[in-house]
Subunit: 426 residues, 2 copies
């Protein structure tokens, strides 16, 4: 992990660069799979599941008895932990429910806004080495709080055509309506167009590798919304002398183990904290199972010392980290100045892991500097704000003449006439 001392502001833009990713070579493949699934439906899904995952299934849909078996197989202590996480996530997302807004903007002109759930939601849960059941919690619980009509899920099965027990347990616990054993680009394409077996959805949520990322981008061009532009995971720790280097090192590694393209930063105004953290990192790294992955991620990562406290704030906002851990003495002063971040973890006993799994906040967050303009997944990600208005004849008699003037000034006489014809009738 590279240490940098007091970088000149004119070099900051190079310091906030993420590991570069190019998806262009995946696009032609993704477009072909989208075309095929749009044209040939289930048979094309079968073709690509066989080709990429070496899987042939009679049916994509997980059956009730598979779920019952899975519920039986998950150890009780893990079940209790998942149930507790579910409770916290539900509480936090329920707190985000807003009441309809109703305002009489001028006499007789009543305007209101009501949030309406998106009808059909599709979740993608990656397969691979670890069963990421925590993403099911994060994506299905707010969908249910929002009262989306239909919540389906796709996830690639293992070599025997099965999904992990804990995946099925969690999906069932959270009320996912249907679970399908399909992975990768073909899963996203299936939810985009719909097939005989797989329903079309209105919005697709979920993490994934580069293939899934490209597929979601393509889906967004076919009248499906997506949760967020995806990118590799990131963590920035801001620390002063009040921080604990052992804790910081553990946090940096927890993010680094995600993948070789992850990025972790420590920024500090205390050079001792910088050096001690680097030492602790080396010690802790050697004990990790996913050491090789974490080590590669550390090559994309930096420890930066800033003499000026204000640089800590400015650099944080310029970087706009997905996850931000803040361990400072004057913490509130710093927190109030944060403009760009996905989720913020405050103090020495608030590791990112807590929010990744169970504290209640969502772990689906903007990466790659997108915290400048995007929220992480939250209740509103599953809702649409629809406006309504009702004007009384008396209200229109006051408002109407002003609308007539504005419409005429824009050269839109039919707009004006829709008012005039009503005013004349009064």
């Amino acid at each position: 992990m590279k240490k940098i001392i007091n970088p000149d502001k004119k070099n900051w833009s190079s310091l906030i660069k993420r590991p570069s990713l190019s998806y262009e070579n995946i696009e032609p493949l993704a477009k072909k799979i989208f075309r095929d699934i749009s044209n040939y439906g289930d048979s094309a899904i079968n073709k690509y599941s066989k080709k990429f995952d070496n899987i042939e299934l009679d049916s994509f849909k997980v059956k009730r008895d598979e779920i019952l078996k899975a519920i039986n197989n998950v150890p009780l202590d893990l079940k209790l932990a998942i149930q507790n996480a579910k409770k916290n996530i539900k509480i936090f997302h329920e707190a985000q429910i807003t009441k309809p807004i109703k305002v009489e903007t001028q006499p007789g002109v009543l305007c209101w806004q009501k949030k309406i759930p998106i009808e059909r939601v599709g979740l993608y849960i990656p397969g691979g080495s670890a069963p990421l059941f925590s993403s099911i919690l994060m994506l299905s619980i707010p969908a249910k709080v929002a009262k989306c009509g239909q919540v389906i899920m796709c996830s690639p099965p293992d070599a025997n055509g099965n999904l992990a027990d804990v995946i099925l347990y969690t999906a069932n616990l959270c009320g996912v309506d249907e679970i399908y054993k399909i992975g990768g680009i073909q899963a996203i394409a299936a939810m985009t167009f719909g097939t005989k077996s797989i329903p079309k959805v209105d919005k697709i949520f979920g993490p994934g590798n580069q293939y899934v990322t490209v597929a979601k981008q393509l889906a967004a061009q076919h009248k499906v919304a997506i949760d967020l532009p995806a990118g590799p995971s990131e963590l920035m720790v801001v620390a002063d002398k009040s921080a604990n280097p052992d804790f910081i090192a553990s946090d940096l590694l927890s993010q680094a183990e995600h993948g070789p393209d992850s990025q972790v930063y420590l920024i500090t105004n205390d050079i001792k904290i910088a050096d001690m953290t680097i030492n602790k990192l080396k010690l802790q790294l050697n004990l990790l199972e996913r050491k090789d992955i974490a080590n590669k991620a550390l090559n994309n990562s930096k420890v930066i010392y800033f003499e000026d406290y204000s640089d800590l704030i400015d650099f944080t906002n310029l970087y706009g980290p997905e996850h931000l851990i803040v361990c400072l003495e004057n913490i509130n002063e710093f927190i109030d100045k944060i403009i760009n971040a996905g989720s913020v973890f405050i103090g020495n006993f608030t590791p990112e892991s807590a929010g990744d799994y169970a504290s209640g906040t969502n772990h689906t967050l903007p990466t790659n500097g997108y915290s400048r303009q995007y929220s992480g997944v939250n209740l509103d990600s599953y809702l649409k704000a629809v406006t309504f208005q009702k004007i009384t004849p008396k209200g229109l008699s006051k408002l109407g003449p002003m609308v007539e003037k504005m419409a005429s000034a824009e050269g839109l006489e039919a707009h004006r006439n829709a008012i005039s014809i009503r005013l004349k009738s009064l």
Copy 2:
């Protein structure tokens, strides 16, 4: 305008089709302009402004004295109308301000969500035949209510290098920070990358022709967010015998005059209303200045009679109109069942024009069926929801062991360790 009687449900999917638009032939040009402006900045803007708009300017930025002159030139009655619209739009968008949400999800685990304004916002206001100052109201007022740091605006100048007085007046009234005389693809590219003259922004808002639409799609691939996927404007009127055919005809025409690719629908369970509206349409059409445009739009449009009341609801939700006017006797019953619509206008004295200009709701709305998954522009379009959490040592001692179990079950030992190392220290 084609009349259809009781269409079979299996044909509905063809009835909700919008006029098809293909942007593929514009994409190569847009990509070239993006590349050039990314590489050559202002000189590339100049090159394309000359090429497409036949404009050569010493400076893109509107000067203070141009604004002062414009303020002088706008007639007082129009100024008062614009000020009244501003007041209503401000009231309605201020009503959308939410308080931070703070919840202790379990003892010692405090989670909160705070909305933070997007720092830099860019508005695009089309030029052309009519000066669309109403879009400035709709896009800049919520930006100011949200307290965005910087609100800039681009709009193409006329042949003399000027923007319309009413455009400058409105932008100044609403507190737009800088106004630039640039149009089309080059304006969107300039705000995407930033140049010496034009600041880079985080999110681009605003309507535009097909060139601007493609440019906004490209911008979204360059780390800039956009308000909405754009498409031609639409209106659906749902009416029963309580409606007024003259009023309906005026509303359909107000939407049809927008452009030849606009689409307007009347759906009704009263065949007399259908026929009378078609007659009134013909009469009113002949009186319009923009008759040719409206007539072309009417070719994309339909009057549909449904015998069953429930079909009115189902067809509305399947179509998902941008604008929906509802003139029914049992209006509340219908309103409660609306799932997919951008903005809803209720009763015989609530023409769409009112919301287009001055009632208070926003007129930037999802078209082309996107009301299934997108909100129209609202206060939240200018804000990001950022989450925070703070866990006490005692809180972590309860939550931590459950996080450890979940992290281990996902095979992420460094995630587990970030908890364990803290629990051990207690």
